[in-house]
Symmetry: none
Subunit: 532 residues, 2 copies
């Protein structure tokens, strides 16, 4: 049976950037857009060129996508200006993008109150802006802002805006529930009317979560004929967020009603990376992941006790609507020690660490993991620290070297030119086979200085760690206040391109960082097969 | 026009207790059930008497409710036992409750696999259990577990279960989407069929959020005829949670389609306490509130963009689907990267900072904000740093004191007992009115040591900052790697209970932290009206 193509449009980097507390750097945008492309998203909206320096820079050259079309967002020409004499519009047209998504009002009320212009001038602005972008060979979309509210107030005018966009040659006319207050059945009824004027294959839906129904609203629009869905990773977005692609994608792929009818750019193989994609975004933004998120939440396939747990063990299908592995998640039953133990054994298998089921050290490992996780160690996010702890408890890690002492100093003062300067200096004393090696180094900050000093001279182990570098450093405070416990996650990479993450926890951020640094070096030594 | 009564059933204390990470104490249950009653919930399900000591104790006497019916949850009699010879059932029947909600399988597959009994025995168990509870004068409900999946596999058997409950005298037959995988339109279609066999006035809906559609599923069931909604506060519940009453209640009260047709027990006055109710539950459970929650989230009525902000200032209705005050929330316009001049002026108004619209320093402030935000300062999250920067640019902050130099040291070594110890020590030199004050302090970590040293002696300003304390400290690395730029956010509080947030950005985490600490102290001095 031939299936229709349904297109996914991601606006994490534009509408998602409106999220209270979210600020993307240029590098964040580069990494996230690459991740969205790899996932199989059809359109990646990168931002609003001209609105701020980050977005302008991001659109100064086109990213090297495999699949996605790089999309710039912007406003249609201003009322009373010609398209060729509007610097805002010029900025958008000049952006290095495959597609341009214009936002235009489609509510007579909004045109009057917010835009302070006439209905006809707003339609002309839509037509002119679409034409100008088409003339440059861009794929053009028009986000019809406030479409549903506008339709309810003045159906004819809302439809006129949609038709103006379509008739001027826009590839997509996106119906926006900008304020997020529309109910799913209203969406279905209204889109059902719009398809009589603009073909469904040209219609998109852009829903917000203000009544916690953005996912349902998006699916209702698809049922009524729309063929593009706009949304964000983890439902990021202004106020209550946008439609959550991490919930929509699995539903479109795994729920028969949709998977029978539609094809999307996300393959089954890519779907299995979804949980990792979701987590990577949260990690970059230093946001605590929503444990209860549909499909990709840590608790999405967790069964807590009693009757449900025993049924799940008889047949997982009894309490699971889809298989967790399909989205890269996994089943967890929180019952007893037994469950903890089988979870740990599964992890050891995954890490390729041999063990004997009857080894009492295995029980000790389970206990130790429980204690350390309760203290704040996040082994789920720190594969290399888990690996090391497991190997150590099972007696498989040599004590390659020992750090006897370290000392790190940060000084801030005014230099001879009256400039404020900050200097970080670290000294590390290491014992390698009874020989004491002392190294000192400066750094951008205390952790960088410590890192450089530690890895300056490790005697006979030096050759194993030459290619080691730190690629990310994240800090989370677990209780609040500067006196709270600090968790540090460090991501490292070596010359083979392999990367791993280690964790440290302490009231002192320097101590926590040092634990994670040490784990990283030890992990690299174990992995390289270094002998004590 | 006479409106139909729609009943709300809260299962926060039963299904919500299945949430990974949630454990209610007896006192929690007492406080929360009282809060639910005060809100106007019709049925408060308190737990499963007999399943654990807390629940048994909670049901040993009836709470003193104004409005709600106190409801006990439990299983129907076991297969192969009579109702009078099942200790589990006896425990439920003895509970001091107004109503009993039995859970019963309504899927032939589940009856076979999980219950390991026959279809007929399961029907008999429903009939016998309902009859036994009715005989004791209890209001009886039956949660038809796995109803929707069961209906899709074997419609007749699912309907037979629902009819058995209804015909034996159950007041409510609740259709459960136990695994949470059903789509809203499926719910609507299936409930539309069920009402032909059991009147809608006897039907309830119990939805889970595994596809992020529990709210939409609940409303779809109501549209099809069901008249009871089960859910939890903040959507607590196993896996991805239950239908969120904090989203459903405002929609039922404020969206005309529902408010025209239905009356619920929550009055307009009580609705205005909803945000507080939501927050109280999170506080009791020590969970971070979901800032983006529909209606009651801290960000639910926050506007960040320039264009949106200027429209919201013209007329809030342009970007708000309901008035925030109706649910006890409030409107907020954020300063950010994307903020225009109008946004900055709105923030100045809010902060009570006087300015002249034609003052060139205002333009400088807008420019400075953009530059600093591009460099990583997150003023939208740091109200006090915004306030200080604005006042400074507009020439309104005295230079109370100047830090000439600081020095912070962290040492880790082994003490005489062979224990690894980490010591942090800071020295700060401050110039107050030409007088040099030197203070030193130890701390849990370098930032804590610096904080204590800085605030140890500020001469004549000391009296203003005695009540100051740090309550949160957050770190974000902006480019990755230990050499990257670090952003620190510090939340402080004073003796009046007011709290504020400050920000610092630097390649050196200690420097960034110190900037945020300094802003916090200066903000407090400005706020206290200290004179230089």
């Amino acid at each position: 049976m031939s299936r229709e193509r349904l297109y996914l449009f991601d606006t994490t980097l534009r509408d998602g950037a409106q999220t209270n507390g979210v600020d993307f750097t240029l590098q964040d945008k580069q990494v996230i857009s690459g991740m969205l492309d790899a996932l199989g998203i059809d359109y990646v909206e990168g931002g609003y060129p001209g609105a701020n320096p980050t977005d302008s820079e991001f659109f100064s050259r086109k990213p090297d996508f495999e699949h996605a079309r790089f999309t710039a967002f912007g406003m249609t020409r201003r009322p009373g200006r010609s398209a060729s004499n509007d610097p805002g519009l010029a900025g958008i047209l000049e952006a290095k993008a495959d597609a341009i998504c214009f936002v235009a009002k489609s509510s007579a009320y909004q045109v009057r109150v917010a835009l302070e212009t006439t209905n006809e001038e707003n339609l002309a602005s839509i037509r002119d802006s679409v034409a100008a972008a088409k003339a440059l060979g861009r794929e053009v979309m028009v986000d019809c802002e406030h479409f549903f509210d506008g339709y309810k107030e003045n159906r004819d005018y809302a439809l006129a805006c949609a038709k103006a966009a379509y008739q001027s040659g826009a590839r997509w006319v996106v119906l926006c529930d900008t304020n997020g207050g529309t109910m799913p059945h209203e969406i279905e009824t209204i889109v059902g009317d719009v398809v009589k004027h603009v073909p469904g294959a040209y219609l998109g839906i852009h829903a917000h979560n203000d009544t916690e129904q953005a996912v349902a609203n998006s699916l209702a629009a698809v049922r009524a004929g729309a063929r593009q869905i706009q949304g964000t990773l983890n439902g990021l977005g202004e106020r209550c967020g946008n439609a959550n692609l991490c919930s929509l994608i699995p539903t479109l792929k795994l729920k028969q009603e949709f998977s029978d009818k539609f094809e999307i750019g996300v393959t089954t193989e890519k779907l299995a990376t979804l949980m990792k994609v979701s987590r990577t975004l949260d990690d970059m933004l230093n946001r605590a992941p929503n444990r209860h998120a549909a499909y990709v939440g840590e608790s999405a396939f967790v069964t807590k006790t009693g009757i449900h747990a025993s049924a799940v063990m008889k047949d997982p299908q009894t309490y699971e609507h889809v298989l967790p592995e399909l989205v890269g998640n996994h089943r967890k039953v929180l019952v007893s020690d037994q469950a903890g133990r089988s979870n740990v054994m599964a992890e050891l298998d995954r890490a390729g660490i041999a063990y004997d089921k009857s080894d009492p050290r295995l029980t000790r490992l389970v206990e130790e993991l429980k204690e350390r996780e309760a203290a704040g160690f996040a082994y789920e996010s720190a594969n290399a620290s888990f690996d090391l702890l497991a190997r150590r408890t099972l007696g498989k890690v040599p004590e390659y070297f020992k750090v006897e002492q370290f000392d790190v100093n940060v000084e801030q003062r005014y230099n001879a030119n009256g400039q404020r300067v900050t200097v970080a200096l670290a000294v590390v004393k290491v014992d390698v086979d009874g020989e004491r090696l002392i190294s000192a180094a400066e750094g951008n900050g205390p952790v960088n200085a410590l890192d450089v000093a530690l890895r300056k001279d490790l005697g006979k182990y030096q050759k194993y760690i030459d290619g080691l570098k730190l690629i990310d450093y994240r800090v989370r405070i677990l209780n609040g206040g500067t006196e709270a416990v600090t968790r540090v996650l460090i991501e490292s990479e070596d010359e083979t391109g392999e990367s791993w993450t280690t964790v440290g926890v302490s009231p002192n951020i320097i101590d926590a960082s040092f634990q994670a640094l040490m784990d990283s070096v030890f992990y690299k030594l174990v992995k390289s097969g270094a002998q004590a």
